[in-house]
């Protein structure tokens, strides 16, 4: 089962400030968590996201593309990155996501990818 894990910053929780030793520690925690997932063979993909201000939204209506600036919805919480994990079950996904620093400084939504008929 593949899971999309969205790293969400919560408005009322401040993470470490860039340039501080705590920030460096967080980066190294990210690195070691990601490395451990890769070694265990559960990591499909991962990466940080640019801020929502860099987002563009497209809708196609009546065959015409409508492009707007910004994310599709203004949320208090900001999605800052993602992991795609391939795990045996939810318990395994929970164990790995708990090692991602974003779980301490915000939260992580774990969303199973839909298994399409015929895909195995």
């Amino acid at each position: 089962m593949r899971y999309l894990c969205l790293l969400v910053g919560e408005a009322d929780m401040d993470g470490p400030v860039p340039g501080t030793p705590e920030f460096m520690q967080m980066l190294s925690d990210y690195q070691s968590a990601t490395q451990a997932m890769a070694t265990a063979g559960v990591l499909v993909d991962s990466g940080p996201l640019q801020p929502a201000s860099a987002a563009t939204t497209i809708r196609v209506r009546g065959g015409e593309p409508l492009v707007t600036d910004g994310p599709f919805a203004e949320l208090k919480e900001l999605i800052g990155g993602y992991y795609v994990l391939d795990c045996a079950d939810l318990d395994e996904a929970l164990r790995w996501t708990a090692t991602i620093p974003a779980a301490r400084f915000g939260c992580i939504e774990i969303r199973p990818l839909m298994v399409m008929p015929g895909s195995g």
């Binding site: 089962m1 795990c87 045996a88 079950d89 939810l90 318990d91 929970l94 164990r95 774990i110 199973p112 839909m114 008929p117 015929g118």
Partner: protein, 407 residues
């Protein structure tokens, strides 16, 4: 349904659903197949003799239903494979050990923290206890349609998020076991709550909770809190026959006819508690069981070791610092040292005013004030409790006390 068939149903439902879930990997399918097997069984067995191995018969029939369903619903190779695998299972019914393990796997899935807490209880009652959707809806005071939808959503989440049918490994077990015990405890308190639903369902919930706790205790006998929970449920349930008087009136512990207590349950509970305490890892269920055991050991309230009970509540408060626990401690202290000492604790419980709306807080205050002879204050506390719309049985008791204080 005849009593005999009903009994088989109660005993074998959870086992059959658990086995079918293991075989098919699909809880919803397993439940439907077992339901069909039971429907067939009611027709076949009513008025006739039961097969020599009713459980084995049910599992075989349910398995055939599941295979039919899989074949009918899909031409997909994966499904065909599942059907073939099921058909290939020509082994005789599983021995008791692994079957019991299937139920344990199932309860860990139904009580998974990724499910909404109310859904955990509902799913457990449905899949392991075999309560109907209608009965569960009554427990939760919602319509049958609402409950049906909640159950479907829960099963869908288990399937779509791949919540495993597995006993968690040692790393996760302590935390997850706590969640399972909580569900069993809540099933019991729901049945034990005065004025809970229609009497039949309420009593049944207590029985089902004890059945689940027994199952857990059989399988995790090295876990003191599991034994503690079973002990607590037995010691509490033993008082059930004495708890209601004529017309469903609530009889308080102090006024209960202790000859009506179930002494077999009492001694089994005490024995389990001893066994748990020998493992030397105390916890909230063992402490609550120990409190219940203190009551069980006493001939009446004056013979009760209230100082010991107060000390146990103080220990419980370090695990669960809730207003309810502090209020109970206040009552025990009042019994041990007098109402004034109890009242002092009780007045400290709600400093933030968070539980102003909790009727039992006012009922406790009222009782202590009454015993201190402060009748006017007692009467106003009884009125405050009544204003919060307590359950019927408690309401009647409070009204009686209020009239005694001249209110």
């Amino acid at each position: 349904m005849s009593a005999q068939v009903e009994q088989v149903f109660r005993q074998e439902w959870g086992r059959a659903v658990a086995v079918l879930t293991r075989l098919t990997g699909d809880l919803a399918l397993a439940e439907d197949a077992v339901q069909e097997a039971f429907t067939l069984a009611v027709d076949r067995w009513t008025g006739g003799p039961l097969p020599s191995d009713p459980a084995g018969w049910l599992i075989v029939v349910a398995k055939n239903h599941a295979v039919d369903r899989i074949r009918r619903e899909s031409r997909r190779p994966a499904k065909e494979e599942a059907a073939a695998r099921l058909l290939g299972e020509r082994d005789p019914p599983q021995p008791p050990g692994p079957i019991a393990d299937d139920r344990l796997r199932l309860i860990f899935a139904c009580c998974h923290p990724a499910l909404d807490p109310g859904t955990r209880i509902a799913l457990t009652l449905r899949t392991l206890c075999g309560l109907t959707t209608g009965q569960i809806a009554k427990v939760f005071l919602v319509s049958e349609a609402t409950m049906a939808q909640r159950l479907v959503r829960g099963k869908r989440k288990i399937r779509d998020a791949a919540i495993p049918f597995r006993v968690p490994d040692d790393r996760d077990l302590p935390g997850r076991l706590g969640g399972v015990l909580r569900v069993v405890y809540l099933v019991f308190t729901e049945g034990h709550r005065p004025g809970a639903g229609p009497g039949v369902v309420a009593g049944e919930l207590c029985d089902e909770a004890i059945r689940l706790a027994r199952l857990l205790a059989d399988l995790c006998c090295g876990e003191p809190e599991v034994l503690g929970l079973l002990a607590l449920l037995l010691l509490t349930d033993a008082r059930r026959p004495a708890r209601t008087g004529p017309g469903g009136r609530l009889v308080l512990l102090a006024d209960q006819d202790r000859n009506r207590w179930d002494h077999a349950k009492m001694s089994e509970g005490s024995r389990l508690l001893d066994q748990a305490m020998r493992l030397r890892r105390p916890g909230p269920y063992q402490l609550q069981a120990a409190i219940a055991a203190c009551h069980a050991a006493a001939a009446d309230t004056s013979d009760t070791d209230w100082a010991q009970i107060a000390a146990l509540y103080a220990a419980l408060a370090s695990h669960e610092p809730t207003p309810v626990v502090h209020a109970n401690r206040a009552v025990a202290v009042a019994m041990a040292e007098g109402p004034a000492a109890g009242l002092a604790i009780l007045d400290g419980v709600d400093e933030g005013g968070h539980i102003e709306g909790w009727h039992l807080l006012h009922a406790c205050r009222a009782d202590l004030l009454r015993r201190l002879g402060r009748t006017a204050e007692a009467a106003s506390a009884y009125r405050a409790a009544l204003a919060l719309d307590p359950p019927r049985a408690e309401r009647e008791f409070l009204v009686r006390r209020l009239s005694e204080t001249g209110g």
